[in-house]
Amino acid sequence: MSLSISLAINGRKHDVALDDPRVTLLDLLRERLDLPGTKKGCDRGQCGACTVLIDGRRINSCLTLAASLDGAEITTIEGLSDGEDLHPVQAAFIEHDAFQCGYCTPGQIMSAVGLIKEGMAGDDPERVRELMSGNICRCGAYQGITEAVLEAQRKLADREKPATGKDAA
């Protein structure tokens, strides 16, 4: 059976004809839409490497059926920067040495963006670690990751503050 779905990925609309309903969002991105920034680690929900945002919420794309996403808005690591300007979370990861091999990094960054949006961690490193526990880093860059998430969160909060009396939004 053939299914057609329509998705917005990083702000761009895609009409996708699926000849096979078994395709996960992860495989759709990597294999069919030429967006290999999202990584496949375990393919079973256990490592977080495949984390992307669906309608602003972080999820594991390896356990999401593409067919079920008609009308959804997806954000992947490729859609985070503004041209050459890195997203504050990306910049903070570099600043804090928050990776070594880099394989888990797109998932870590997307997860961090989701975490900051959720707003449940405050400035508590312990809460950041707990809420990032769905992202495994084989290289053990956790110390830098926690620092990067906290700093990016501060920077994003500062950005939101109206700096000159004008509404910054």
């Binding site: 059976m1 309903p21 996960t24 929900g45 999820i59 594991n60 356990l63 008609d70 809460r127 707990e130």
Partner: protein, 356 residues
Amino acid sequence: MNRFDYIKPASVSEAVTEAARPGSAYLAAGTNMLDLMKVGVVGPERIIDVTGLPGLADIEWLTDGSVRIGALVRNSDLAYDTRFAETFPMVAEALLSGASAQLRNAATVGGNLMQRTRCAYFLDPASACNKREPGSGCDAREGENRLHAVIGFTEHCIAVHPSDFCVPLVALGAEVEVESLDGKRTIPLAEFHLLPGDTPHVETALRPGELITGLKLPAQAAAFSGHARYLKLRERTSYAFAVVSAAAALDMADGRIRQARIALGGVAAKPWRAEEAEASLVGAEASPSVFARAGEIALAGAHPSGSNAFKIELARRIVARALALALEGTPEAMPALPASPFSTLSGETSGVAHVA
């Protein structure tokens, strides 16, 4: 993964009509279903995606004080709903101790109830497993069974139900609302999951094609909001299933226990409510010794199903500890490590953490 037809119904009546056809299975977020399909443990021919069904994603407070939670409410949305978390704090704590933030953002209430065991032999189609393939045997009995059941198992199956969410829910007397072509009915959660007997492949009271539409928590369950905890022992600090867990809730009046609720996770094929242990506390003055005794009573019928005798003593202690923490009072803010014994060391605010 086997091939399947994908169907996304737009109404509950359409969904139950589609699901009545043989070879059909419901799909919610897919965090358990797709995983099982990938390894070949299940292979439905028709997938009925329920995520588009209208009216099943609300948390509704009824005038009698009870609450109705739609089957499609996401685990994280329920846990972070302020009113829900204040009224039923141990349910929120259990939810936040499960899986990861990403999985909780996707996982639905209905899917959480219906998730399958994590027994490694069930998950490996090359192994003998009566649950996956009735009559084939049970490789867990002579295999890796440290984390298997200590209550209510039979020689046919020694698996446990892995849900955290269901543990406080069963303690609080939750009910499951279901619908099929035959109409609607309500099943008490305590009777929803089944012990294995000689039919371990029959896991719930759900009939073929029946759809979970929601869950209900009775108004009386709110009486425990001030003294309720979920405690979960894991083999790593976070992002792991329970070795054993306990939900404990007290309704206190003048230093005495008016009512108590206790349930255990990780010990049986269903979330295990310990009613006799609850009864032993009624009218008692709260003390370490009555809590220890409640732990003894809760595990009275337990015995090892393999190399897992340690779980019995652990479970007794986790019950006593959860009761002691419940007595101290529900924390004002959710602990940084929900349900973790490390962040709940008595008298400390943060306790031992991820990084010591």
